[in-house]
């Protein structure tokens, strides 16, 4: 089994190829850049670099996995359109990995509760609560768009040690430390594990593939967890009249 994985849901652009043979998993290549947000110009050249480096025959992959949302609307669509185009030309299925699940998978095996925080603007985060149990990822709170105080409230109610990661950490770190998580035990993931990694998306996708959780390239669409502003305003207006 070989999977090509993409994540362009946030500031990071990441491409990886993972495989599994006889129960042994391998990360063949991963290219992750957290510099400037020009995914439309970088994502495919990054893939091309990997393909050359590991002499990959694209036709040999079994599926294309991607962080399917939430995230930056435009970033998600660049990843989606890239995956859909690859799937179309290669006639391969796609594997939709919830972005926040993929982030949590970075911290495989931790005994703490995992809380990814992606900056969702408008004073919200894309987040969720996860734990590892018997070697597999358990979802305690599925990914959502919520205020930081909402997720902090859920974490305090759980009363367990928490590890945070994601690009929302620098935005909300102070509030978490000074007010929201006061008295609780928590920590922050280190540099090599605290942002989107296509390697984690791919590794989680190996499991999805075994469970047959694929979609066709045509039917794939990103999960935004939010309506567009125009739709939101229209619904609010309708509600008020």
């Amino acid at each position: 089994m070989k999977i090509l994985a993409l994540d362009s849901s946030g500031l990071v652009a990441s491409v990886a190829v993972v495989e599994e043979n006889d129960g042994n998993q391998n990360l063949l290549a991963e290219y992750t850049v957290n510099y400037k947000k020009t995914h439309s110009q970088t994502l495919l050249p990054m893939l091309d670099e990997i393909v050359k480096m590991i002499e990959l025959d694209l036709k040999s992959i079994d599926a294309i996995a991607l962080a399917a949302g939430p995230g930056s609307f435009t970033g998600l669509r660049i990843g989606s359109a890239t995956a859909k185009g690859l799937g179309f030309a290669l006639e391969k299925p796609l594997i939709d990995i919830p972005t926040v699940d993929g982030l949590a998978y970075n911290l495989y095996g931790t005994d703490r509760v995992i809380c990814p925080l992606m900056d969702a603007r408008r004073n919200q985060v894309y987040t969720g609560i996860y734990e590892f149990c018997g070697g597999s990822l358990h979802v305690l709170e599925p990914q959502m768009a919520a205020g930081i105080e909402v997720i902090a409230g859920k974490l305090r109610a759980l009363g367990r040690e928490v590890i945070f990661l994601g690009d929302g950490v620098p935005v909300f770190r102070k509030r978490l430390e000074e007010e929201l998580m006061a008295g609780e035990k928590f920590s922050f993931a280190p540099a090599h594990l605290n942002k989107q990694r296509a390697g984690a998306v791919g590794a989680l996708a190996l499991q999805y593939l075994k469970e047959g959780k694929t979609v066709s390239a045509a039917e794939h669409r990103p999960v935004y967890l939010r309506l567009s502003q125009a739709e939101r305003e229209r619904l609010e207006k309708e509600k008020n009249t």
Binding site: T38, S40, Q41, T42, L43, L44, P45, L47, D48, L58, F73, T74, R77, I78, S80, A81, T82, A83, K84, G85, L86, G87, F88, A89, L90, A217, A218, R221, P222, Y224, S228, Q229, A230, E231, R234
Partner: protein, 342 residues
């Protein structure tokens, strides 16, 4: 002599609110032209909502491309090049087509050609009229553009006039909204105007000083709004059909006058229309009459080729392709791409 091989272009267009794909043979023959329109969705908002347009593109794009290949009876492996609109347009909408086209091109090993949306509109005339060749003058009129262009050669454009404010189609949309016709305004005004008197009300025909080919449509739009307000204040009834017909005539008069002037000044006796407003029946008739009077050949695409479509992108991509133009894996969407820019 060796027989010349046919060139098949798979084209993708997603610059605004139509998800479109087409297969075009040798730049002139349309084998398929699939358009998935979102107009009904955007009507709720009185205009195109970029985020909604982008979301719909990503949902539809593979289906539309597959349909274009199926209708043409062509396999992806038979395609010689992929043409894709990379500007101008809504950036989020453009990015869907660009990312998709790049990925298909890369995975299938098919050359990629980025196409300028307006060059596509102009190239629709190559499909409509097989014998048309540059040089010719082209008037591009749509919801976002009003350009008077000298097409020197395939891929060589010189803009000699453009609008200083509203695009012609934009003025149609705004006036349509003001007289309660809704979105999209162009076809609705066209229909209503047929029942009205184009000489009932005199609306201004604006000239731009020192720029004989430039346009300005905000004045005529304001004049219509002021007229409607005036009627309202005086309690006089508004004859919407007369307003539509008179407004439409004011716009068409200016478009025809400038285009014909350009034909005379440049000594190029060929005039083509392009863009969404090119399917306006009054504009076509006025332009046709003026061209006949001046002894100028007049070209215009069928309505389906005037609207945003991918066949026109395939036609433009063909000439770029045979000229050796290729786009790289880093091709980006350029929302304000200028005509003739590479």
């Amino acid at each position: 002599m060796e027989e010349k091989k046919d060139v098949l272009i798979l084209a993708i267009e997603s610059s605004c609110d139509e998800t479109a794909s087409a297969v075009v043979k040798n730049g002139r023959e349309v084998l398929s032209n699939v358009i998935s329109s979102q107009i009904a969705l955007h009507t709720l908002y009185g205009g195109v909502v970029p985020e909604i347009a982008s979301r719909k593109h990503i949902e539809k794009i593979n289906e539309v491309i597959q349909e274009a290949l199926d209708q043409a009876g062509v396999k992806l492996s038979e395609i010689d090049a992929i043409g894709v609109t990379y500007g101008p347009g809504l950036v989020g909408a453009l990015l869907v087509g660009v990312a998709e086209a790049k990925a298909i091109s890369y995975a299938a090993g098919i050359p990629l050609v980025g196409v300028h949306h307006i060059e596509g509109h102009i190239s629709a005339n190559y499909i409509a009229c097989k014998e048309l060749e540059p040089p010719f003058i082209c008037l591009v009129v749509s919801g976002g553009h009003t350009h008077l262009v000298v097409v020197r050669d395939y891929g060589k454009y010189e803009i000699i006039g453009k609008t200083r404010d509203d695009a012609a189609g934009e003025a149609f949309d705004k006036v349509a909204r003001a007289i309660g016709l809704g979105y999209p305004g162009g076809p609705k005004i066209d229909r209503l105007a047929k029942e009205g008197n184009p000489d009932a009300i005199h609306f201004p025909r604006a000239k731009v000083e020192d720029a004989p080919y430039d346009f300005s449509f905000s004045g005529v739009k304001s004049a219509v709004l002021n007229y409607l307000n005036g009627c309202h204040m005086k309690g006089e009834p508004v004859v919407e059909a007369d307003v539509a017909a008179s407004f439409q005539k004011a716009v068409c008069d200016v478009l025809v006058e400038h285009a014909v002037q350009a034909v005379k000044d440049y000594g190029i006796p060929k005039l083509a229309l392009a863009g969404g407003v090119a399917s306006n029946s009054a504009l076509r008739e006025a332009m046709k009459a003026a061209c006949e009077k001046e002894g100028v050949s007049f070209y215009y695409p069928s309505p389906i080729l005037c609207t945003d479509n991918a066949a026109m992108i395939g036609a433009a991509a063909y000439y770029e392709y045979i000229n050796g133009v290729r786009s790289g894996l880093d091709l980006n969407a350029v929302p304000n791409l200028r005509l003739g820019e590479r």
